[in-house]
């Protein structure tokens, strides 16, 4: 791999940028791999990367039915934070956030991590209590957050209307080292590093069946032929249920559409991420100047990667009250992704009823922020059979009632 650096830019500038080469190879699949990861999104690529980097397992194929990073990795609102209430969540999300801090250096790829600060507005008395509790929990977990006053909110976000009328801003939970990153670059950076370690990233290769004998995985059937493997990781977000069906077990997830939109680009006006969970909307400004806006998920099962139009109206209507400045903006793009929701709104990183099939799913509406931590933990689980980060996220928590309930703890929006 040619390293990217200021010297590389200078060298290429002198030869008309002819020497860059492809960031990753696109080989045909081999007959057999030590491990196969299904899904070349952020989580799948990060899993493969840490299998290679931390555990020395490099004979790996990453299969992708579409194009690399074309699912939810390319469809989210790029927010990174770790201000969760439950210990297990805080551990894995803070692991992820801390890995984002050095990701550009680790991958030699600029993921444009911008720790600009994430603010979750308290707009009711209940939210004040809830966020103060979260801030206390975070300080015990070693996650740096604080509860800030409305005046501090206004000084950080001058365009905000803190006076209501219906939902005045009463304070906020503030994580100053939360922020955003360039979502595509995260997938591309991991892909480049995986390819450099000799892993095969095989795009447009749809898994059509999973072979197992005596409860032990043998391999997968794909649109590019049959491939054997010793270990299989299923990291496919919205299509988890479809893949689990192929492997012959059930997953406690439902696929629903989550959508987001961006406005036309405007001059810089807001340099933090603001989430308003009572009115159900969140907003940040991209480097291009677009206001990036997300809202709630649809309430019904859906695999179509497009959401209901009225959600756009609900989200924007709510945000206009808090940010009057956006009322005249035009919508530029609008898209949806299919997220896999679990009963307790926490992910599943687990062994499965089939030996050596591992599953990483259920990130629901908040997977992007977790990519490096999720990959780190999933790699450890696949390599060693256990990981302290994934222990509480196992599949049998639903039978045992040991939930990691973030559906009320983290607020609705992720």
């Amino acid at each position: 791999m040619k390293r990217y650096s200021v010297f590389a830019v200078a060298r290429e500038a002198l030869r008309y940028h002819q020497g860059w080469g492809r960031a990753w190879k696109s080989p045909e699949p081999k007959k057999k791999y030590d491990a196969i990861i299904i899904g070349a999104g952020g989580h799948g690529l990060a899993t493969a990367y840490y299998l290679g980097k931390n555990h020395g397992l490099k004979n790996i194929a990453i299969l992708e039915k579409g194009w690399l990073g074309g699912g939810n990795t390319g469809r989210n609102t790029t927010i990174i934070r770790s201000n969760y209430l439950q210990d297990a969540s805080a551990a894995i999300y803070e692991k992820a956030r801390s890995l984002y801090e050095t990701m550009s250096q680790d991958l030699n790829y600029n993921v444009m991590f911008s720790p600009r600060g994430v603010m979750m507005l308290a707009q009711t008395q209940h939210e004040i209590r809830g966020y103060k509790r979260t801030a206390q929990a975070n300080s015990l977990q070693g996650v740096s957050t604080e509860f800030i006053s409305p005046e501090k909110v206004k000084s950080l976000v001058p365009i905000i209307n803190i006076d209501g009328p219906r939902y005045p801003v009463l304070g906020a939970l503030w994580q100053s080292r939360g922020g955003t990153a360039r979502h595509d670059a995260v997938a591309w950076g991991y892909a480049r590093a995986c390819s450099d370690m000799g892993m095969d990233i095989i795009q447009q290769c749809e898994v059509t069946g999973i072979r197992h004998e005596n409860g032990q995985v043998q391999g997968v059937e794909t649109s590019k032929g049959s491939i054997d493997c010793q270990k299989l990781g299923i990291v496919v977000a919205g299509h988890t249920g479809v893949l689990a069906d192929m492997a012959g077990f059930r997953m406690p997830v439902e696929a629903v559409a989550l959508q987001a939109l961006v406005s036309e680009p405007i001059k810089p006006c807001m340099d933090v991420v603001v989430m308003a969970n009572t009115v159900h909307g969140y907003m940040s400004q991209s480097d291009k100047g677009e206001m990036v806006i997300g809202g709630g998920a649809d309430g019904f099962n859906n695999y179509t990667q497009r959401g209901s139009f009225h959600h756009v109206e609900e989200t924007v209507r709510a945000l206009i009250e808090t940010f009057p400045i956006i009322s005249r903006l035009k919508m530029l793009r609008w898209w949806g992704g299919i997220v896999d929701m679990t009963g307790d709104r926490s992910p599943i990183l687990s062994k499965t009823p089939v030996v050596n099939i591992f599953i990483n799913c259920g990130w629901g509406t908040g997977g992007f922020k977790a990519i490096p931590g999720s990959g780190w933990a999933m790699a450890e689980l696949m390599a060693k059979g256990h990981s302290s980060l994934t222990e509480e996220f196992s599949l049998n928590r639903f039978k045992e009632g040991k939930f990691i309930d973030e559906s009320v703890a983290a607020g609705v929006a992720h």
């Binding site: 479809v242 019904f300 099962n301 009963g343």
Partner: protein
């Protein structure tokens, strides 16, 4: 936007007039059932990419709960039917069979 015909008031209702109510025809398990049965009832929803049966409520209309058969991959609606039944009626099944050969949902096919 999804449009369902409410089987009670006969109105063609937009999605904005309705509330989704999740998977249809659930068999409930409570005290005395096994751990697996309770887990299945609480968490292991059908999650098909294709034909799905659901409960919906005509919340900004007549207020009635009803059932709908819908494709989750295309959003095509096959039909709606009464809430007072434990399984989809034959005419709905026939419509789905004609449009989606080889479909299955739980023990229906």
């Amino acid at each position: 936007m999804l449009v369902f015909k409410c089987p009670y008031c006969g109105i063609e209702a937009d999605e904005t007039e309705l509330n989704p109510g999740g998977e249809a025809h659930l068999k409930r398990f409570g005290p005395g059932s096994s751990d697996e049965e309770l887990e299945g009832y609480l968490f292991n929803r059908e999650n098909p990419k294709g034909v799905h049966f659901e409960r919906w409520r005509h919340v900004y209309g007549c207020g009635k709960w009803f059932h709908a058969a819908r494709c989750t991959a295309t959003l095509e609606v096959f039909g709606t039917y009464s809430a007072q039944t434990f399984e989809p009626p034959k005419e709905i099944i026939d419509i789905i069979k004609a449009k989606r050969p080889g479909w299955k949902w739980r023990n229906l096919s």
